[in-house]
Amino acid sequence: MTQLLDARRWWLLVGKHWSENRKKYSLSLTAIAGLLLVWLVFRMTTESDKLSGELQVTTFYSGLFIAGCLYASTLFADLGSKTRGLNYLTVPASSLEKLLCNLFFGVVVFFVCYTAIFYIADVMMIKISNAVMYNRWQKSHVVGDVFHPQEIFNVFSTPGRHDNHPGYVFYLILLYAVVQAAFIYGSVFFAKFSFIKTIIALLLIGLCMAFVINKVIAPILPPGHYQHSITSFEVYTVKKTASGDGVMIYSDATNDKLVSIPEWIGDLLLFLLKYAFAPLLWLATYYRLKEKEI
Protein backbone atom coordinates (compact mmCIF):
# COMPACT_ATOMS: atom_id res chain seq x y z
CA MET A 1 0.00 0.00 0.00
CA THR A 2 2.84 2.38 0.84
CA GLN A 3 4.09 1.98 -2.71
CA LEU A 4 0.70 3.07 -4.01
CA LEU A 5 -0.28 5.79 -1.58
CA ASP A 6 1.56 7.26 1.34
CA ALA A 7 0.22 10.36 3.10
CA ARG A 8 3.68 11.68 3.96
CA ARG A 9 4.92 11.39 0.37
CA TRP A 10 1.72 12.95 -0.93
CA TRP A 11 2.16 15.88 1.41
CA LEU A 12 5.78 16.26 0.27
CA LEU A 13 4.52 16.37 -3.31
CA VAL A 14 2.00 19.04 -2.37
CA GLY A 15 4.79 21.11 -0.79
CA LYS A 16 7.02 20.63 -3.84
CA HIS A 17 4.20 21.51 -6.24
CA TRP A 18 3.37 24.64 -4.27
CA SER A 19 6.99 25.77 -3.98
CA GLU A 20 7.49 25.39 -7.74
CA ASN A 21 4.22 26.98 -8.82
CA ARG A 22 3.27 29.54 -6.19
CA LYS A 23 4.49 32.51 -8.25
CA LYS A 24 2.56 31.32 -11.30
CA TYR A 25 -0.56 30.63 -9.23
CA SER A 26 -0.43 34.01 -7.47
CA LEU A 27 -0.14 35.78 -10.82
CA SER A 28 -2.94 33.69 -12.33
CA LEU A 29 -5.29 34.43 -9.44
CA THR A 30 -4.47 38.13 -9.69
CA ALA A 31 -5.23 37.97 -13.41
CA ILE A 32 -8.56 36.22 -12.74
CA ALA A 33 -9.45 38.87 -10.15
CA GLY A 34 -8.52 41.60 -12.65
CA LEU A 35 -10.62 40.07 -15.40
CA LEU A 36 -13.60 39.62 -13.06
CA LEU A 37 -13.36 43.27 -12.00
CA VAL A 38 -13.11 44.48 -15.60
CA TRP A 39 -16.11 42.35 -16.55
CA LEU A 40 -18.24 43.49 -13.60
CA VAL A 41 -17.34 47.15 -14.21
CA PHE A 42 -18.27 46.70 -17.87
CA ARG A 43 -21.63 45.16 -16.94
CA MET A 44 -22.23 47.85 -14.33
CA THR A 45 -21.75 50.59 -16.90
CA THR A 46 -23.98 48.88 -19.44
CA GLU A 47 -26.77 47.91 -17.01
CA SER A 48 -27.39 51.16 -15.16
CA ASP A 49 -24.98 50.29 -12.37
CA LYS A 50 -26.87 47.14 -11.42
CA LEU A 51 -25.30 43.81 -10.65
CA SER A 52 -28.22 41.43 -10.53
CA GLY A 53 -28.13 38.03 -8.87
CA GLU A 54 -28.46 36.41 -12.28
CA LEU A 55 -25.42 38.30 -13.53
CA GLN A 56 -23.41 37.26 -10.49
CA VAL A 57 -24.30 33.58 -10.97
CA THR A 58 -23.62 33.69 -14.72
CA THR A 59 -20.29 35.42 -14.13
CA PHE A 60 -19.28 32.94 -11.43
CA TYR A 61 -20.02 29.83 -13.44
CA SER A 62 -18.73 31.16 -16.77
CA GLY A 63 -15.46 32.10 -15.07
CA LEU A 64 -15.34 28.79 -13.25
CA PHE A 65 -15.76 26.81 -16.46
CA ILE A 66 -13.25 28.87 -18.46
CA ALA A 67 -10.55 29.32 -15.80
CA GLY A 68 -11.07 25.84 -14.30
CA CYS A 69 -10.74 24.09 -17.63
CA LEU A 70 -7.79 26.24 -18.69
CA TYR A 71 -5.99 25.43 -15.46
CA ALA A 72 -6.94 21.75 -15.68
CA SER A 73 -5.40 21.55 -19.14
CA THR A 74 -2.06 22.69 -17.70
CA LEU A 75 -2.00 20.32 -14.72
CA PHE A 76 0.13 17.71 -16.46
CA ALA A 77 1.69 20.08 -18.99
CA ASP A 78 5.15 19.03 -17.74
CA LEU A 79 4.65 15.72 -19.52
CA GLY A 80 4.58 17.55 -22.85
CA SER A 81 8.21 18.54 -22.42
CA LYS A 82 10.98 15.96 -22.42
CA THR A 83 13.07 17.71 -19.77
CA ARG A 84 10.20 18.64 -17.46
CA GLY A 85 8.49 15.29 -17.99
CA LEU A 86 11.63 13.41 -17.05
CA ASN A 87 11.97 15.51 -13.91
CA TYR A 88 8.32 14.90 -13.04
CA LEU A 89 8.25 11.15 -13.65
CA THR A 90 11.46 10.45 -11.73
CA VAL A 91 10.26 12.14 -8.52
CA PRO A 92 10.04 9.28 -6.02
CA ALA A 93 6.28 9.19 -5.58
CA SER A 94 3.66 6.89 -7.05
CA SER A 95 1.48 7.81 -10.03
CA LEU A 96 -1.54 7.83 -7.71
CA GLU A 97 0.14 10.31 -5.36
CA LYS A 98 1.08 12.51 -8.31
CA LEU A 99 -2.48 12.39 -9.62
CA LEU A 100 -4.00 13.11 -6.21
CA CYS A 101 -1.61 16.02 -5.72
CA ASN A 102 -2.65 17.55 -9.04
CA LEU A 103 -6.33 16.89 -8.34
CA PHE A 104 -5.92 18.56 -4.96
CA PHE A 105 -4.62 21.71 -6.62
CA GLY A 106 -6.73 21.54 -9.77
CA VAL A 107 -10.04 20.58 -8.21
CA VAL A 108 -10.04 21.57 -4.55
CA VAL A 109 -7.57 24.45 -4.17
CA PHE A 110 -8.59 26.05 -7.44
CA PHE A 111 -12.30 25.91 -6.59
CA VAL A 112 -11.76 27.42 -3.13
CA CYS A 113 -9.41 30.13 -4.42
CA TYR A 114 -11.60 30.96 -7.40
CA THR A 115 -14.69 31.26 -5.18
CA ALA A 116 -12.80 33.48 -2.73
CA ILE A 117 -11.45 35.67 -5.55
CA PHE A 118 -14.90 35.89 -7.11
CA TYR A 119 -16.50 37.03 -3.86
CA ILE A 120 -13.76 39.57 -3.18
CA ALA A 121 -14.38 41.08 -6.63
CA ASP A 122 -18.14 40.71 -6.24
CA VAL A 123 -18.30 42.34 -2.80
CA MET A 124 -16.13 45.23 -4.00
CA MET A 125 -18.26 45.83 -7.06
CA ILE A 126 -21.58 45.48 -5.22
CA LYS A 127 -20.40 48.09 -2.71
CA ILE A 128 -19.31 50.43 -5.50
CA SER A 129 -22.52 49.79 -7.39
CA ASN A 130 -24.66 50.46 -4.28
CA ALA A 131 -22.73 53.66 -3.52
CA VAL A 132 -23.22 54.94 -7.07
CA MET A 133 -26.90 53.97 -7.08
CA TYR A 134 -27.49 55.47 -3.63
CA ASN A 135 -25.87 58.70 -4.72
CA ARG A 136 -28.10 58.82 -7.76
CA TRP A 137 -31.16 57.86 -5.68
CA GLN A 138 -30.43 60.67 -3.20
CA LYS A 139 -30.38 63.21 -6.02
CA SER A 140 -33.46 62.05 -7.80
CA HIS A 141 -35.78 60.18 -5.43
CA VAL A 142 -39.22 61.39 -4.62
CA VAL A 143 -40.85 61.17 -1.22
CA GLY A 144 -41.88 57.62 -0.43
CA ASP A 145 -39.24 56.02 -2.61
CA VAL A 146 -37.19 53.42 -0.77
CA PHE A 147 -33.65 52.65 -1.72
CA HIS A 148 -33.09 48.94 -2.36
CA PRO A 149 -29.42 48.10 -2.19
CA GLN A 150 -28.21 45.19 -4.26
CA GLU A 151 -27.22 42.12 -2.36
CA ILE A 152 -24.37 39.71 -2.67
CA PHE A 153 -25.87 36.66 -4.24
CA ASN A 154 -25.14 33.16 -2.98
CA VAL A 155 -23.98 31.47 -6.17
CA PHE A 156 -24.53 28.07 -4.55
CA SER A 157 -28.18 28.69 -3.72
CA THR A 158 -30.28 26.32 -5.75
CA PRO A 159 -33.29 27.80 -7.49
CA GLY A 160 -35.69 25.16 -8.74
CA ARG A 161 -34.86 22.88 -5.83
CA HIS A 162 -37.61 20.69 -4.45
CA ASP A 163 -37.97 17.23 -2.97
CA ASN A 164 -36.96 15.27 -6.08
CA HIS A 165 -34.83 17.86 -7.79
CA PRO A 166 -31.65 19.31 -6.34
CA GLY A 167 -31.81 22.42 -8.56
CA TYR A 168 -29.86 23.41 -11.66
CA VAL A 169 -26.80 24.76 -9.79
CA PHE A 170 -26.19 21.26 -8.49
CA TYR A 171 -26.16 19.89 -12.05
CA LEU A 172 -24.02 22.79 -13.21
CA ILE A 173 -21.37 21.88 -10.64
CA LEU A 174 -21.59 18.21 -11.63
CA LEU A 175 -21.19 19.19 -15.28
CA TYR A 176 -18.21 21.36 -14.37
CA ALA A 177 -16.59 18.42 -12.55
CA VAL A 178 -17.00 16.22 -15.65
CA VAL A 179 -15.76 18.82 -18.13
CA GLN A 180 -12.81 19.71 -15.91
CA ALA A 181 -11.95 16.02 -15.50
CA ALA A 182 -11.95 15.73 -19.31
CA PHE A 183 -9.47 18.61 -19.51
CA ILE A 184 -7.28 16.99 -16.83
CA TYR A 185 -7.26 13.80 -18.89
CA GLY A 186 -6.49 15.86 -21.99
CA SER A 187 -3.45 17.38 -20.27
CA VAL A 188 -1.93 13.90 -19.92
CA PHE A 189 -3.19 12.57 -23.23
CA PHE A 190 -2.07 15.43 -25.47
CA ALA A 191 1.57 16.46 -25.38
CA LYS A 192 1.00 19.97 -26.75
CA PHE A 193 -1.94 22.40 -27.02
CA SER A 194 -4.00 20.19 -24.76
CA PHE A 195 -6.66 22.87 -24.10
CA ILE A 196 -7.52 23.31 -27.77
CA LYS A 197 -7.18 19.63 -28.56
CA THR A 198 -9.46 18.68 -25.65
CA ILE A 199 -12.10 21.16 -26.85
CA ILE A 200 -11.91 19.64 -30.34
CA ALA A 201 -12.08 16.12 -28.90
CA LEU A 202 -15.12 17.00 -26.76
CA LEU A 203 -16.86 18.57 -29.76
CA LEU A 204 -16.16 15.49 -31.85
CA ILE A 205 -17.45 13.19 -29.09
CA GLY A 206 -20.57 15.38 -28.80
CA LEU A 207 -21.12 15.24 -32.55
CA CYS A 208 -20.65 11.47 -32.62
CA MET A 209 -23.12 11.04 -29.76
CA ALA A 210 -25.66 13.28 -31.49
CA PHE A 211 -25.22 11.26 -34.67
CA VAL A 212 -25.60 7.91 -32.89
CA ILE A 213 -28.67 9.08 -30.95
CA ASN A 214 -30.42 10.70 -33.90
CA LYS A 215 -29.33 8.58 -36.82
CA VAL A 216 -28.68 5.16 -35.33
CA ILE A 217 -30.79 4.73 -32.21
CA ALA A 218 -33.79 6.90 -33.09
CA PRO A 219 -34.66 5.00 -36.33
CA ILE A 220 -34.56 1.69 -34.44
CA LEU A 221 -36.95 2.83 -31.75
CA PRO A 222 -40.68 2.70 -32.39
CA PRO A 223 -42.51 6.05 -32.59
CA GLY A 224 -42.67 7.58 -29.16
CA HIS A 225 -40.79 9.72 -26.70
CA TYR A 226 -38.85 9.50 -23.47
CA GLN A 227 -41.06 10.22 -20.55
CA HIS A 228 -39.60 12.20 -17.63
CA SER A 229 -36.27 10.43 -17.87
CA ILE A 230 -34.27 8.25 -20.23
CA THR A 231 -35.37 5.15 -18.37
CA SER A 232 -39.01 5.35 -19.52
CA PHE A 233 -40.09 5.37 -23.12
CA GLU A 234 -43.65 5.88 -24.19
CA VAL A 235 -44.55 4.04 -27.36
CA TYR A 236 -47.24 5.75 -29.39
CA THR A 237 -50.30 4.00 -30.70
CA VAL A 238 -50.05 3.18 -34.40
CA LYS A 239 -53.27 3.09 -36.38
CA LYS A 240 -54.05 2.75 -40.02
CA THR A 241 -55.74 5.65 -41.70
CA ALA A 242 -59.27 5.21 -42.82
CA SER A 243 -58.25 4.80 -46.46
CA GLY A 244 -55.68 2.19 -45.46
CA ASP A 245 -52.90 3.73 -47.51
CA GLY A 246 -50.83 4.91 -44.64
CA VAL A 247 -50.38 4.94 -40.91
CA MET A 248 -51.26 7.53 -38.41
CA ILE A 249 -49.17 7.81 -35.34
CA TYR A 250 -50.52 9.58 -32.34
CA SER A 251 -50.34 9.64 -28.64
CA ASP A 252 -53.42 8.70 -26.72
CA ALA A 253 -53.53 8.36 -23.02
CA THR A 254 -55.30 5.02 -22.96
CA ASN A 255 -53.57 2.90 -25.62
CA ASP A 256 -49.97 4.18 -25.42
CA LYS A 257 -47.52 1.75 -23.93
CA LEU A 258 -44.94 2.87 -21.43
CA VAL A 259 -41.72 0.85 -21.57
CA SER A 260 -39.62 1.27 -18.46
CA ILE A 261 -36.57 -0.50 -17.24
CA PRO A 262 -36.69 -1.62 -13.58
CA GLU A 263 -36.55 1.29 -11.20
CA TRP A 264 -33.33 0.20 -9.49
CA ILE A 265 -31.51 -0.05 -12.85
CA GLY A 266 -32.85 3.36 -13.74
CA ASP A 267 -31.67 4.76 -10.41
CA LEU A 268 -28.27 3.15 -10.86
CA LEU A 269 -27.92 4.55 -14.38
CA LEU A 270 -28.88 8.00 -13.24
CA PHE A 271 -26.48 7.78 -10.32
CA LEU A 272 -23.67 6.77 -12.67
CA LEU A 273 -24.57 9.50 -15.15
CA LYS A 274 -24.46 12.07 -12.39
CA TYR A 275 -21.51 10.95 -10.31
CA ALA A 276 -19.38 8.44 -12.22
CA PHE A 277 -18.09 10.41 -15.20
CA ALA A 278 -15.60 12.62 -13.35
CA PRO A 279 -14.11 9.79 -11.22
CA LEU A 280 -13.91 7.58 -14.32
CA LEU A 281 -12.00 10.28 -16.17
CA TRP A 282 -9.67 10.67 -13.16
CA LEU A 283 -9.13 6.91 -13.24
CA ALA A 284 -8.35 7.09 -16.97
CA THR A 285 -5.89 9.92 -16.19
CA TYR A 286 -4.21 7.72 -13.58
CA TYR A 287 -3.67 4.88 -16.04
CA ARG A 288 -2.50 7.26 -18.74
CA LEU A 289 0.00 8.73 -16.28
CA LYS A 290 1.21 5.28 -15.27
CA GLU A 291 1.79 4.38 -18.90
CA LYS A 292 3.42 7.67 -19.85
CA GLU A 293 6.80 7.29 -21.53
CA ILE A 294 9.34 10.05 -22.03
Binding site: L12, S19, L89, T90, P92, S95, E97, E291
Partner: protein
Amino acid sequence: MIDIQNLHFAYRKKPVFTGLSLQLQPGHIYGLLGKNGTGKSTLLRNIAGLLFPDKGKIEVLGFTPGKRQPAFLQEIFMVPEEFYLPDLPLWHLVAHHAPFYPKFNKAQFEQYIAAFDIPAGSTMQNMSYGQKKKVLISFGLASNASMLLMDEPTNGLDIMSKSQFRKVMAGALNENKCIVISTHQVKDLENLIDRITIIDEGKILFDQTTDTISRKLAFHISFDSEEVKQALYNESSLRGTAIITPNTDGEESKLDLELLYKAIVLNGAAVTAVFKD
Protein backbone atom coordinates in the same frame (compact mmCIF):
# COMPACT_ATOMS: atom_id res chain seq x y z
CA MET B 1 22.04 -4.78 -9.59
CA ILE B 2 20.90 -4.25 -13.19
CA ASP B 3 19.91 -7.26 -15.18
CA ILE B 4 18.84 -6.70 -18.78
CA GLN B 5 17.77 -9.76 -20.71
CA ASN B 6 16.93 -9.85 -24.40
CA LEU B 7 15.82 -6.23 -24.51
CA HIS B 8 13.81 -5.23 -27.56
CA PHE B 9 12.85 -1.62 -27.97
CA ALA B 10 11.70 0.43 -30.94
CA TYR B 11 10.52 3.99 -31.49
CA ARG B 12 7.40 3.39 -33.56
CA LYS B 13 8.87 1.32 -36.36
CA LYS B 14 12.53 2.20 -35.85
CA PRO B 15 14.14 -0.59 -33.84
CA VAL B 16 16.80 0.47 -31.35
CA PHE B 17 17.48 -2.73 -29.41
CA THR B 18 16.94 -6.18 -30.77
CA GLY B 19 17.91 -8.58 -28.04
CA LEU B 20 20.33 -6.61 -25.88
CA SER B 21 21.50 -8.33 -22.69
CA LEU B 22 23.65 -6.66 -20.06
CA GLN B 23 24.45 -7.01 -16.38
CA LEU B 24 25.80 -4.17 -14.28
CA GLN B 25 27.14 -4.60 -10.77
CA PRO B 26 27.50 -2.20 -7.83
CA GLY B 27 30.87 -0.69 -7.01
CA HIS B 28 31.67 0.28 -10.60
CA ILE B 29 31.54 3.29 -12.84
CA TYR B 30 30.39 2.09 -16.23
CA GLY B 31 31.18 4.07 -19.35
CA LEU B 32 28.49 3.63 -21.97
CA LEU B 33 29.96 4.55 -25.32
CA GLY B 34 28.56 4.48 -28.81
CA LYS B 35 27.83 6.47 -31.92
CA ASN B 36 25.00 8.98 -32.11
CA GLY B 37 21.64 7.26 -32.31
CA THR B 38 22.86 3.87 -31.12
CA GLY B 39 20.51 3.99 -28.14
CA LYS B 40 22.67 5.02 -25.17
CA SER B 41 20.13 7.51 -23.83
CA THR B 42 17.30 5.12 -24.70
CA LEU B 43 19.00 2.42 -22.65
CA LEU B 44 19.36 4.79 -19.67
CA ARG B 45 15.71 5.78 -19.95
CA ASN B 46 14.68 2.12 -20.07
CA ILE B 47 16.73 1.48 -16.92
CA ALA B 48 15.13 4.51 -15.23
CA GLY B 49 11.61 3.32 -16.11
CA LEU B 50 10.91 6.25 -18.41
CA LEU B 51 10.55 3.98 -21.42
CA PHE B 52 9.12 0.48 -21.42
CA PRO B 53 10.70 -2.46 -23.28
CA ASP B 54 8.71 -3.96 -26.13
CA LYS B 55 10.08 -7.37 -25.25
CA GLY B 56 12.59 -8.77 -22.80
CA LYS B 57 13.18 -8.03 -19.14
CA ILE B 58 14.84 -5.29 -17.15
CA GLU B 59 15.35 -5.70 -13.43
CA VAL B 60 17.00 -2.98 -11.39
CA LEU B 61 17.66 -3.63 -7.67
CA GLY B 62 14.91 -6.24 -7.85
CA PHE B 63 12.37 -3.78 -9.25
CA THR B 64 10.74 -3.60 -12.64
CA PRO B 65 11.61 -0.01 -13.65
CA GLY B 66 8.46 0.53 -15.73
CA LYS B 67 6.29 0.28 -12.60
CA ARG B 68 8.00 3.44 -11.29
CA GLN B 69 7.41 2.47 -7.66
CA PRO B 70 8.58 5.09 -5.13
CA ALA B 71 10.97 2.58 -3.51
CA PHE B 72 12.64 2.17 -6.91
CA LEU B 73 12.64 5.86 -7.81
CA GLN B 74 14.33 6.82 -4.55
CA GLU B 75 17.16 4.42 -5.33
CA ILE B 76 17.82 5.75 -8.81
CA PHE B 77 18.84 9.22 -9.91
CA MET B 78 19.19 10.36 -13.48
CA VAL B 79 21.23 13.29 -14.73
CA PRO B 80 19.94 13.70 -18.29
CA GLU B 81 21.79 15.57 -21.02
CA GLU B 82 19.00 18.12 -21.21
CA PHE B 83 17.36 18.70 -17.91
CA TYR B 84 14.92 20.93 -16.07
CA LEU B 85 15.32 22.49 -12.66
CA PRO B 86 12.61 24.79 -11.32
CA ASP B 87 13.55 28.44 -10.78
CA LEU B 88 13.99 28.31 -7.05
CA PRO B 89 16.70 29.38 -4.65
CA LEU B 90 19.19 26.57 -4.20
CA TRP B 91 18.22 25.77 -0.61
CA HIS B 92 14.56 25.92 -1.44
CA LEU B 93 15.15 23.35 -4.11
CA VAL B 94 16.95 21.09 -1.68
CA ALA B 95 14.30 21.58 1.00
CA HIS B 96 11.50 20.41 -1.31
CA HIS B 97 13.29 17.71 -3.29
CA ALA B 98 15.64 16.10 -0.80
CA PRO B 99 12.94 14.60 1.50
CA PHE B 100 11.95 12.25 -1.34
CA TYR B 101 15.37 10.59 -1.05
CA PRO B 102 15.71 8.93 2.38
CA LYS B 103 19.51 8.67 2.09
CA PHE B 104 20.00 12.30 1.04
CA ASN B 105 22.91 13.87 2.90
CA LYS B 106 22.82 17.65 3.15
CA ALA B 107 26.41 17.94 4.36
CA GLN B 108 27.52 15.97 1.32
CA PHE B 109 25.50 18.24 -0.95
CA GLU B 110 27.10 21.33 0.57
CA GLN B 111 30.50 19.74 0.09
CA TYR B 112 29.84 19.02 -3.62
CA ILE B 113 28.40 22.48 -4.19
CA ALA B 114 31.51 23.98 -2.65
CA ALA B 115 33.74 21.72 -4.75
CA PHE B 116 31.92 22.94 -7.88
CA ASP B 117 32.22 26.59 -6.81
CA ILE B 118 28.47 27.19 -6.78
CA PRO B 119 27.56 30.23 -4.65
CA ALA B 120 25.46 28.91 -1.76
CA GLY B 121 22.77 31.59 -1.84
CA SER B 122 22.16 31.50 -5.58
CA THR B 123 18.90 30.96 -7.44
CA MET B 124 18.47 28.64 -10.40
CA GLN B 125 17.25 31.53 -12.52
CA ASN B 126 20.61 33.29 -12.22
CA MET B 127 22.70 30.22 -12.94
CA SER B 128 24.29 29.23 -16.21
CA TYR B 129 23.54 25.88 -17.84
CA GLY B 130 26.83 24.48 -16.54
CA GLN B 131 26.15 25.65 -12.99
CA LYS B 132 22.68 24.13 -13.06
CA LYS B 133 24.16 20.88 -14.27
CA LYS B 134 26.63 20.90 -11.41
CA VAL B 135 23.76 21.44 -8.96
CA LEU B 136 21.94 18.48 -10.48
CA ILE B 137 25.05 16.30 -10.31
CA SER B 138 25.65 17.35 -6.70
CA PHE B 139 22.06 16.59 -5.82
CA GLY B 140 22.24 13.20 -7.52
CA LEU B 141 25.40 12.27 -5.65
CA ALA B 142 24.10 13.57 -2.31
CA SER B 143 20.86 11.61 -2.78
CA ASN B 144 23.01 8.51 -2.24
CA ALA B 145 20.76 6.63 -4.62
CA SER B 146 22.19 3.19 -5.42
CA MET B 147 21.97 3.85 -9.17
CA LEU B 148 23.26 7.01 -10.75
CA LEU B 149 22.58 7.36 -14.46
CA MET B 150 24.36 10.18 -16.26
CA ASP B 151 23.82 11.13 -19.85
CA GLU B 152 26.66 13.27 -21.22
CA PRO B 153 27.40 14.74 -17.77
CA THR B 154 30.39 16.78 -18.92
CA ASN B 155 28.50 18.54 -21.74
CA GLY B 156 28.30 22.20 -20.90
CA LEU B 157 30.99 22.03 -18.22
CA ASP B 158 34.08 24.20 -18.59
CA ILE B 159 37.62 22.79 -18.33
CA MET B 160 37.92 23.42 -14.59
CA SER B 161 34.49 21.98 -13.93
CA LYS B 162 35.32 18.81 -15.85
CA SER B 163 38.32 18.31 -13.61
CA GLN B 164 36.16 19.02 -10.52
CA PHE B 165 33.60 16.56 -11.87
CA ARG B 166 36.17 13.76 -12.14
CA LYS B 167 37.40 14.47 -8.63
CA VAL B 168 33.92 14.53 -7.14
CA MET B 169 32.85 11.39 -8.99
CA ALA B 170 35.92 9.43 -7.97
CA GLY B 171 35.18 10.18 -4.33
CA ALA B 172 31.48 9.38 -4.60
CA LEU B 173 31.73 5.73 -5.63
CA ASN B 174 31.29 3.04 -3.01
CA GLU B 175 30.64 -0.69 -3.06
CA ASN B 176 26.86 -0.20 -2.96
CA LYS B 177 26.63 2.32 -5.75
CA CYS B 178 26.54 1.77 -9.49
CA ILE B 179 27.23 4.70 -11.77
CA VAL B 180 26.52 4.55 -15.48
CA ILE B 181 27.88 7.36 -17.62
CA SER B 182 26.86 7.64 -21.22
CA THR B 183 29.19 9.90 -23.17
CA HIS B 184 30.87 10.85 -26.40
CA GLN B 185 33.55 12.78 -24.60
CA VAL B 186 35.63 9.79 -23.63
CA LYS B 187 38.72 11.86 -22.82
CA ASP B 188 36.81 13.57 -19.98
CA LEU B 189 36.20 10.29 -18.23
CA GLU B 190 39.27 8.27 -19.09
CA ASN B 191 40.54 7.86 -15.54
CA LEU B 192 37.12 7.58 -14.00
CA ILE B 193 35.44 4.70 -15.76
CA ASP B 194 36.34 1.21 -14.63
CA ARG B 195 34.21 -0.71 -17.08
CA ILE B 196 33.59 0.13 -20.71
CA THR B 197 30.47 -0.90 -22.57
CA ILE B 198 30.18 -0.01 -26.23
CA ILE B 199 26.81 -0.19 -27.94
CA ASP B 200 26.42 -0.38 -31.67
CA GLU B 201 23.39 -1.22 -33.79
CA GLY B 202 21.43 -1.89 -30.62
CA LYS B 203 23.78 -4.58 -29.43
CA ILE B 204 26.69 -4.74 -26.99
CA LEU B 205 29.82 -4.57 -29.11
CA PHE B 206 32.30 -4.57 -26.28
CA ASP B 207 32.04 -4.90 -22.50
CA GLN B 208 35.24 -5.15 -20.43
CA THR B 209 36.74 -3.70 -17.28
CA THR B 210 39.61 -1.26 -17.68
CA ASP B 211 41.87 -3.69 -15.77
CA THR B 212 41.19 -6.43 -18.32
CA ILE B 213 41.69 -4.01 -21.19
CA SER B 214 45.05 -2.91 -19.78
CA ARG B 215 46.06 -6.53 -19.30
CA LYS B 216 45.08 -7.58 -22.81
CA LEU B 217 45.92 -4.52 -24.88
CA ALA B 218 48.88 -2.19 -25.13
CA PHE B 219 48.57 1.42 -26.19
CA HIS B 220 51.65 3.25 -27.40
CA ILE B 221 53.25 5.43 -30.02
CA SER B 222 55.23 3.60 -32.63
CA PHE B 223 57.66 4.59 -35.36
CA ASP B 224 58.16 1.02 -36.53
CA SER B 225 56.23 0.58 -39.79
CA GLU B 226 56.07 -3.20 -39.37
CA GLU B 227 54.57 -2.85 -35.88
CA VAL B 228 52.12 -0.26 -37.15
CA LYS B 229 51.04 -2.61 -39.92
CA GLN B 230 50.42 -5.47 -37.51
CA ALA B 231 48.63 -3.33 -34.91
CA LEU B 232 44.97 -3.92 -34.14
CA TYR B 233 44.44 -0.26 -34.82
CA ASN B 234 46.68 2.62 -35.78
CA GLU B 235 46.22 6.33 -36.10
CA SER B 236 48.78 8.89 -37.25
CA SER B 237 49.50 11.77 -34.96
CA LEU B 238 52.08 14.52 -34.68
CA ARG B 239 53.95 12.48 -32.10
CA GLY B 240 54.10 9.38 -34.31
CA THR B 241 51.57 6.61 -34.93
CA ALA B 242 49.34 5.73 -32.00
CA ILE B 243 48.71 1.99 -32.03
CA ILE B 244 46.88 -0.69 -30.13
CA THR B 245 48.48 -4.09 -29.99
CA PRO B 246 47.76 -7.28 -28.06
CA ASN B 247 49.59 -7.01 -24.74
CA THR B 248 51.64 -10.16 -24.98
CA ASP B 249 54.50 -8.99 -22.73
CA GLY B 250 52.38 -7.82 -19.83
CA GLU B 251 53.56 -4.28 -20.35
CA GLU B 252 51.80 -1.44 -18.58
CA SER B 253 50.43 1.28 -20.83
CA LYS B 254 48.00 4.11 -20.37
CA LEU B 255 44.54 3.26 -21.66
CA ASP B 256 43.53 5.60 -24.48
CA LEU B 257 39.74 5.36 -24.49
CA GLU B 258 39.25 7.32 -27.68
CA LEU B 259 41.69 5.12 -29.57
CA LEU B 260 40.11 1.98 -28.12
CA TYR B 261 36.65 3.18 -29.10
CA LYS B 262 37.74 3.81 -32.69
CA ALA B 263 39.49 0.44 -32.81
CA ILE B 264 36.37 -1.37 -31.67
CA VAL B 265 34.09 0.48 -34.07
CA LEU B 266 36.43 0.05 -37.07
CA ASN B 267 38.12 -3.27 -36.27
CA GLY B 268 35.87 -4.75 -33.63
CA ALA B 269 36.33 -8.40 -34.57
CA ALA B 270 40.13 -8.31 -34.21
CA VAL B 271 40.00 -6.43 -30.90
CA THR B 272 37.34 -8.63 -29.32
CA ALA B 273 39.24 -11.74 -30.48
CA VAL B 274 42.07 -10.75 -28.16
CA PHE B 275 39.68 -10.94 -25.19
CA LYS B 276 38.47 -14.41 -26.11
CA ASP B 277 41.86 -15.95 -25.35
